[in-house]
């Protein structure tokens, strides 16, 4: 059991990405649905709506990216593993 920290780190990385992807996925679905709704009601506002949608999606995506960065830190730059 000398690799216990590494094993736990791999599981931690997997959990970080999987659960970190859940919330942003749901949120992005809601955002796109709302944007579709707005586009159907007001097709002439397509430019503003899609621009705001892109910015909003990237902001929501950031939380998933944080989880990815944490996972990659655990895998590649783990501070608890002696290199």
């Amino acid at each position: 059991m000398t690799y216990i920290v590494e094993i736990i780190s791999i599981f931690g990385a997997a959990f970080a990405v999987s659960f970190g992807a859940l919330g942003p996925a749901l949120a992005e679905g809601r955002a796109v649905a709302a944007a579709m709704d707005a586009l159907a009601r007001q097709p002439e506002a397509a430019g503003v709506v899609s621009r705001t949608l892109f910015v909003g999606l990237a902001m929501i995506e950031t939380t998933a990216i944080y989880c990815l960065v944490i996972a990659l830190l655990l895998l590649f730059a783990n501070p608890f593993v002696a290199a």
């Binding site: 009601r41 007001q42 892109f54 910015v55 990237a58 902001m59 995506e61 950031t62 990216i65 944080y66 990815l68 960065v69 990659l72 830190l73 590649f76 730059a77």
Partner: protein, 251 residues
């Protein structure tokens, strides 16, 4: 790209200074951008030719974005925001060249860009309000919020760093994984997606810088309300739209 996304290849060493491939790419992009700007602007005419038309279109697009987001005349902020946007765009797209890692896929480049934005935010805030006026914005709702407001300056800078780094790095990382699994044509759709992500991230970084600088200078501009005719122009449109939706729901 070697194994870890957190360390870089060393190209050569100048005495004690280690020069990585990212630094070389950054300087190359800087040279290309400076030479390109000089070539585009060295013979400006009153009657524009093709390349001047493209240049004017680019500058006016950046101007419109600054005016829409910050509600101020864009001349003072055009250089900073435009350079940030174009540099990040070129840096993100440089991953298309074979063997080149985008500089924005490393923490150091992103940290430098975000620190430039942080310093510019403070500088423009101090310039428009003065030292005391700028420090007073940290006590904005009440004085109890001072630690949180100071903390926010650093967390949002950190968030900008991680956002740009994570997005660009994950794109490069995924492409290298796919490339090691399946060879020839499979990574091309992912690289196309990378182009879109790179554009959106450059845009978002520029928009966030505009929002932060705009928030730092906002109060003094709302005092003399000169350019702020936009909300009144928008208002009738939205009220008409709400009337329309009410009608359709009543039917």
């Amino acid at each position: 790209m070697n194994g870890s996304p957190f360390d870089q290849d060393i190209v050569f060493q100048l005495g004690p200074v280690v020069v990585t491939d990212v630094v070389v790419t950054t300087w190359f992009i800087m040279i290309v951008m400076v030479m390109g700007s000089m070539w585009l602007t060295h013979s400006l005419n009153f009657r524009p030719d093709k390349k001047q038309a493209v240049l004017e279109m680019t500058v006016s697009i950046i101007d419109v974005q600054i005016r829409d987001t910050m509600q101020t005349p864009p001349a003072r902020y055009r250089a900073l925001i435009g350079s940030i946007f174009l540099f990040i765009l070129f840096a993100n797209w440089s991953s298309l060249l074979p063997g080149v890692d985008p500089p924005t896929a490393t923490l150091e480049t992103d940290a430098a860009l975000a620190l430039i934005v942080l310093v510019a935010t403070m500088g423009h805030g101090i310039r428009t309000r003065g030292w005391l006026g700028y420090l007073k914005t940290f006590t904005e709702p009440t004085w109890v919020m001072i630690p949180i407001n100071v903390f926010e300056q650093f967390t949002r800078t950190f968030s900008m760093i991680i956002r740009l780094f994570g997005n660009v790095m994950s794109g490069v990382f995924i492409i290298s994984i796919v490339l090691s699994l399946a060879g020839l044509l499979i990574p091309i759709p992912l690289m196309a997606l990378d182009l879109l992500t790179g554009t959106v991230q450059a845009y978002i970084f520029a928009v966030l810088s505009m929002v932060f600088i705009g928030a730092a200078i906002a109060e003094s501009d709302s005092a003399n309300n000169t350019t702020n005719d936009k909300p009144t122009a928008v208002k009738p449109l939205t009220s008409a739209a709400s009337i329309n939706t009410n009608d359709s729901s009543n039917k």
